[in-house]
């Protein structure tokens, strides 16, 4: 009898399609929730996404956009109150210092899931050139989009714009999702083989307990809860990594002209990057030792602007000679635009490298920073996360096509096999760059400069590096 009732309930779920406009919070929508089926008063979902940040929301959007996955019931667990509200990012606000460099690969992912149109309605800055040089003045590389027959190399977008675009995208679908405005406190995953004596009706679900006393069941738990992932900790997944004993100062600055190029200069203490963010504004990510970071954070605004101009142009060493090898025009070294004003607070973040030893265990999978935290060089971090979300949504769709249990380890391991080697490669490259510039020795500087010159003047190599860095190509060089 019980079984028949259960069957009916399930049938209703599948027949019942609520056009939920706007994200509904769990409390507001208890009526809707009952329709999702519950066991012992607890809610059951196909997928629980822990962490509704950029990567978690990107996964939800990706799931809502594919015909095979759009009928899944999804719970999003995040205590961020912004998730339940109407999206409201004003275009005339000063740019937020927290920005991401979105690669062409991530842009096409956003287009596929229908979120890029919302990004376009807000401030964003495409760039088609990139200049990398170092303080020794020995070498430089200037990349342009035309090197790879592309229109752009990337787009700099404020994180809040990316996040709100994903939210708007999700609100305009009738995807079944419930937001739990709470934090995860406990996670119980039963072993896969059935054992007599346990509550069999939920044994193939992970049980999640929340800080507000609610609990829910999900076939698959996705940890998208960032570098300090609680899901990773509760699933007892170990990590490998180290702190760089470096901090990054992040802020918005103003020029007198509009910037269309991404600039990065390697200094003895770490790189400084100047990224266009639109309307004569740029974003600064400046890496240095923690002591310096504290000093520069507290110095006067005028002194800070001077220090930035010093670091980008006239300090630390000579500028590279642009036509030493007879190159000119598009490829010659250029002076970055002068910074005239500080336009936001200065934020300081510690840098670290962290990589989860496993991305998937039974019923639990990690995406984004929960799986890998990389050096912010070249702005690759969030792009790796979007790559994870894209890969995971495809693998879930493949699983549904063949009737797989979504939490099945063999399915989740396919995601790990696809993403882990690629992420490790990028992590290692960025770490290598960091290490290359943590040494200041004459002969080493020349070698480094020679590497720069090689990249600048050997075009297949240059094309290869650009395609890899922009996410068009999964492996660098000859892999």
């Amino acid at each position: 009898m019980n079984r028949i009732v259960a069957r009916r309930v399930i049938a209703t779920i599948h027949a019942f399609k609520v056009p939920t406009r706007g994200l509904t919070s769990a409390q507001q929508n208890s009526e809707n929730k009952e329709k999702l089926g519950s066991v012992n008063g607890n809610d059951q979902y196909d997928i629980a996404i822990v962490g509704g940040g950029m990567v978690g929301m990107a996964l939800a959007c990706a799931l809502s956009s594919s015909p095979l996955t759009k009928k899944l019931s999804v719970a999003i667990i995040d205590s961020n109150p912004a998730l339940g509200k109407e999206v409201n990012v004003k275009n005339d606000d000063l740019p937020d210092p927290r920005v991401s460099t979105v690669t062409p690969a991530s842009i096409s992912f956003f287009k596929d899931i229908g979120a890029w149109q919302y990004v376009m309605q807000h401030r964003h800055a495409y760039f088609d050139a990139m200049q990398v040089w170092d303080y020794t003045g020995l070498g430089y590389t200037r990349y342009t989009a035309s090197d790879v027959d592309a229109d752009i190399l990337g787009c700099v977008v404020e994180n809040k714009v990316l996040h709100s675009s994903l939210l708007s995208c999700l609100q305009n679908t009738d995807f079944q999702k419930i937001i739990y405005p709470s934090r995860l406190t406990k996670m119980v995953v039963q072993p896969n083989t059935p054992t007599k004596g346990i509550d069999s009706s939920c044994s193939r679900m992970a049980k999640l307990e929340l800080s507000d006393g609610q609990s829910l069941f999900a076939k698959l738990v996705v940890g998208a809860d960032g570098g300090k992932s609680h899901v990773r900790e509760l699933a007892r997944i170990k990590t490998t990594g180290w702190n760089y004993s470096q901090n990054a100062i992040v802020c918005t600055v103003k020029h007198t002209v509009e910037n269309h190029c991404a600039w990065q200069r390697f200094l003895p203490s770490g790189p400084i990057a100047l990224l266009p963010i639109g309307d004569e504004f740029s974003n600064i990510v400046w890496t240095m030792i923690p002591k310096e970071a504290t000093e520069r954070k507290s110095m006067s605004e005028d002194d800070f602007v001077k220090a930035v101009n010093h670091a980008l142009h006239d300090g630390y060493g000579p500028n590279p000679q642009s036509n030493s090898l007879g190159y000119s025009g598009d490829y010659s070294w250029e002076v970055p635009p002068k910074v005239v004003e500080l336009a936001s607070e200065r934020m300081v973040f510690p840098l670290s490298l962290k990589h989860a030893n496993e991305y998937a265990v039974n019923r639990v999978v990690l995406i984004g920073d929960a799986a890998h935290t990389v050096h912010p060089l070249a702005g690759q971090g969030v792009n790796l996360g979007f790559g994870d979300a894209c890969a995971l949504s495809k693998i879930i769709a493949d699983g549904i096509a063949v009737g797989a249990d979504l939490g099945e380890l063999s399915l989740l391991k396919k995601y790990e096999a696809e993403r882990k080697p690629a992420n490790i490669m990028m992590t290692a490259i960025l770490d290598g760059f960091q290490k290359a510039y943590s040494v200041d020795l004459g002969p080493f500087n020349v070698l480094r400069a020679a590497a720069f010159q090689a990249v600048q003047y050997i075009s297949p190599l240059k094309r290869n590096i650009i395609s890899y860095a922009t996410g068009q190509q999964k492996w660098p060089l000859f892999f």
Partner: protein
């Protein structure tokens, strides 16, 4: 196609004359006794027709069966009963089946969606289809079929398998609707049960009497319904891969899981299905890629293969 089959029948007939020195039997009988197999066989008795090898139940002349009669092989049943509890252990004795499962299901999905005109982009394309999984084991095929929307009946002659399957299916509300029975295809035929789709994957090679088994599968299928059978070819390569490599070298399967001589070639399968008024529409092979550790569908049917067939109208 028809002429090819005819030639094949002739070939089987003539060669069997040479080997078993029996000249007056019908082709169907010859297939049942498998003149090509290298295992010792009973010399057919000319007075009682069709007494197949290994078969311990008595068949009367008219083919009527005793109650638990079936095309099953008791030795095979004991073999599976011994490892029933490991069905759902992805690293256990049934690991090869777990790895192969998505590939088999994608073939089933595409052929059934086409035949029954179901939307291939739906998450539950099999809604409204009654499917029986013959030889369901622990339910590793029945459960995905149920998730794809089918009304599933799983049967297995090993009682332990059915218990494991039920226990496992109950832990998920979507699969708890599967009807599991410890019974045989023959018994359900007697009960006059009918299904839109009859699936027997990796079963026929464990059956003593494949021709009888196929007749039962045919009787369970509604007219214009579909029958899917997968098995292992009886080829040199299958001996090398399915027995030597899988059982002895890689030890994926317990030794003695398969008897090479009980394997059917695709031609033999087409023939015996044809005699049961089922026409094979499509065949595909499964090939294993040792680098990725995954199975893929292919045209190569020399080892593992699956046949999609439809039942002719009566």
């Amino acid at each position: 196609m028809a002429s090819k089959l005819l030639k094949l029948t002739k070939f089987i007939n003539t060669s069997s004359k040479k080997i078993s020195k029996v000249s007056i039997f019908s082709a169907s009988h010859i297939i049942q006794t498998r003149p090509f197999s290298d295992t010792p066989q009973k010399v057919p008795n000319t007075t009682t027709s069709s007494v197949p090898p290994f078969h311990e139940k008595n068949y009367s002349l008219d083919g009527a069966k005793k109650p638990i009669s079936s095309s099953l092989n008791p030795v095979e049943l004991a073999k599976f009963s011994a490892i029933a509890e490991t069905w759902w252990d992805p690293q256990g004795p049934f690991k090869p089946l777990h790895i192969m499962n998505p590939t088999r299901l994608s073939f089933i999905r595409s052929t059934l969606c086409r035949h029954f005109r179901k939307n291939p982009h739906s998450a539950r394309p099999f809604e409204g289809l009654k499917i029986i999984d013959v030889g369901c084991g622990g339910g590793i095929l029945s459960e995905p079929l149920a998730r794809m929307g089918a009304t599933v009946t799983g049967i297995d002659a090993v009682d332990k398998n059915i218990k494991i399957a039920r226990l496992h299916a109950e832990s998920d509300p979507v699969t708890s609707s599967i009807e599991y029975c410890c019974t045989t295809a023959e018994k359900l035929v007697e009960e006059q049960r009918k299904f839109d789709v009859v699936i027997a994957l990796e079963v026929i090679e464990h059956v003593a009497e494949p021709a009888e088994f196929c007749k039962s599968l045919a009787s369970l299928t509604v007219p214009h319904g579909a029958t899917l059978i997968s098995t292992i070819n009886r080829s040199m390569r299958s001996y090398a891969t399915a027995i030597v490599a899988a059982e002895y070298l890689l030890q994926w399967l317990p030794k003695g899981t398969h008897q090479w001589s009980s394997f059917l070639t695709p031609e033999e399968l087409v023939l015996i299905l044809n005699r049961a008024s089922i026409s094979v529409q499509e065949m595909a092979g499964f090939v294993y890629n040792p680098l990725t550790g995954r199975w893929a569908l292919s045209d190569d049917i020399s080892v593992n293969f699956i046949a999609f067939s439809t039942k002719n109208s009566e």
